[in-house]
């Protein structure tokens, strides 16, 4: 009974967060390189705000949303019961520990396990929020290891535009502005491609999705 209540609460919370995100950002998905169909994918996106994965999750059609899990930082999401509820139960996040010295599980193994269970993933390869003037921070190697471990899975770049203006780092109240999410063509690791070459190619594919208008 208690489990049922928790799962209902998680669903309602998820819908409420999603509705709030829609109200604030009227998010628009541009399916440029893929169709919104139920294919197993790793969506990797630029990371400038805490709302990034919520927005990406929100614009996915409901059937896709149910099987898509964000990859998030364990040391952030397990710091309070509310965050843990949202991270674990509402968004069913794959929680990885970003601190090599503290972790007990290998993040790549965790992500691969989630893929093997049939889930799609939302991943931010920059590893942390980008508040610099650079378009993208250097990618961490997780994306490469994932591409190597499961080469058949589509890696889809998603450029999230404007969310850093809705809620810049350090602000708590969001300003309503329209956000667009551009989904690019899927990438795969090619034969013999090295780590640096692949990560550069993946970053370039993401960068190229930026909309032209950036006032």
């Amino acid at each position: 009974m208690k489990d049922l209540l928790r799962s209902v609460a998680a669903r309602v919370t998820g819908q409420a967060i999603s509705l709030f995100a829609r109200f604030m950002t009227a998010p628009r998905a541009i399916w440029q390189g893929i169709e919104p169909i139920p294919v197993q994918r790793v969506y990797y996106a630029n990371h400038s705000s805490n709302g990034d994965f919520v927005l990406l999750w929100t614009v996915l059609p409901a059937p896709l949303r149910r099987s898509t899990r964000p990859v998030a930082a364990l040391e952030y999401w397990l710091t309070s019961p509310l965050r843990a509820f949202i991270g674990r139960e509402v968004f069913n996040a794959v929680l990885i520990d970003r601190r090599p010295e503290a972790r007990t599980e290998d993040p790549v193994a965790q992500m691969v396990a989630a893929l093997d269970q049939g889930a799609s993933l939302i991943l931010f390869p920059e590893g942390k929020r980008n508040s610099s003037d650079e378009v993208l921070l250097p990618f961490k190697s997780g994306l490469y290891h994932l591409a190597k471990a499961r080469p058949e899975v589509d890696l889809v770049p998603v450029w999230i535009a404007n969310l850093n203006k809705v809620m810049p780092k350090g602000e708590v109240i969001p300003v309503p502005l329209i956000c667009t999410l551009t989904f690019g063509a899927p990438l795969h690791l090619t034969q013999g491609e090295g780590k640096d070459a692949f990560l550069a190619r993946a970053a370039q594919a993401l960068r190229s999705l930026q909309p032209p208008v950036q006032p």
């Binding site: 009227a26 109240i173 300003v175 309503p176 329209i178 006032p215």
Partner: protein, 314 residues
């Protein structure tokens, strides 16, 4: 707040939409059976969106004053969200932008709801105008300062101040017209939007000479004259449901259709400069709220003030 005249007008609009939907379906079967003709698909999307817009407007009329005020407050919110997405951005403006959405906008509509004319007619042009730049200035950044505060003020004037003059029409006191003010709103929107639609139709049929080639390829003199005259003729024929005489109704219709055209022109100039085709994407086939409202935005305050000066006792 329903009056027999309003029901007449809404039924008339519903009849037009039934006709349009039927026509759209015939065109689809003939020219776009597989849904691959973008012009036909867009036409049908537009007609469907009209049904939704008329439904919400009718619903708001049914609820009465608070319903109409709330509907236009929400439209303002969506329009402001579209406008400020395209203005110059600086971190230092975060709090003044929050002020626009969560203080200025609700207050403006609250003043309209409570019929405080002396306040809502100066609140944004005076108080918001003077105080919002202070908030931005206190946050320090001077980069493009004048551009930023001007754009924010413009956004508020267009998206909140002008739009709020539509529900404000409910509060005019016109002798012999008591309890029927909702007709003024329905009439304004009907004539201006009909003019938009007819400008589109006339332009597609006989449009040759562009009014402003650098701004918009689709605005032609033939479309403008044909559209404004058609809408004004229909509006004049409906004089009996307004406080105006036939001649006055004709003058009013010409005035608001012309203002509506100017609205489309000015908003096109902004879009062209920013390199976009539509303000948003929420109204299928039409674009954003500002794409649909641009003509009403320019017509509403003028319609409000002329009616107030010449007919209202307040």
């Amino acid at each position: 707040m329903t009056s027999p005249h309003l029901l007449w007008l809404l039924s008339g609009v519903a009849a037009i939409l039934v006709l349009a939907s039927a026509l759209g379906e015939i065109l689809r079967r003939r020219l776009s059976p597989r849904g691959d003709n973008p012009v036909i698909e867009n036409l049908n999307a537009r007609i469907n969106a009209w049904w939704v817009m008329v439904f919400f407007l009718g619903l708001a009329f049914l609820v009465g004053k608070p319903g109409v005020v709330l509907l236009f407050a929400l439209a303002s919110f969506a329009a402001l969200r579209e406008f400020l997405t395209l203005t110059r951005y600086d971190r230092a403006d975060h709090w003044s932008l929050l002020g626009c959405f969560f203080l200025v906008l609700p207050l403006q509509y609250y003043f309209v709801l409570t019929d405080w004319y002396g306040m809502y007619s100066v609140f944004i042009p005076v108080y918001a105008f003077l105080l919002l730049p202070v908030v931005s200035a206190l946050h320090g950044s001077t980069r493009d300062f004048l551009v930023r505060v001007s754009e924010t003020q413009w956004a508020l004037m267009i998206c909140v101040y002008c739009v709020s003059h539509v529900p404000a029409l409910l509060y005019l006191q016109i002798p012999g017209f008591e309890g029927r003010n909702v007709i003024l709103i329905a009439y304004l929107i009907f004539v201006v939007q009909l003019s938009d639609v007819m400008q589109y139709v006339w332009g597609k049929l006989v449009g040759r000479t562009r009014v402003a080639p650098t701004l918009s390829p689709s605005k032609t003199w033939e479309g403008l004259i044909g559209g404004a005259l058609t809408a004004s003729a229909v509006g004049t024929a409906l004089w009996w449901m307004t406080p105006f005489s036939p001649l006055q109704a004709a003058g009013m219709c010409l005035l608001i259709t012309l203002m509506g055209f100017f609205g489309g022109l000015v908003m096109s100039a902004i879009k062209r400069d920013r390199g976009i085709k539509d303000w948003g994407h929420l109204i299928a086939g039409h674009g954003g709220f500002l794409d649909r409202l641009d003509s009403v935005i320019f017509a509403a305050p003028i319609f409000f003030h002329v009616t107030r000066w010449l007919w209202s006792t307040t």
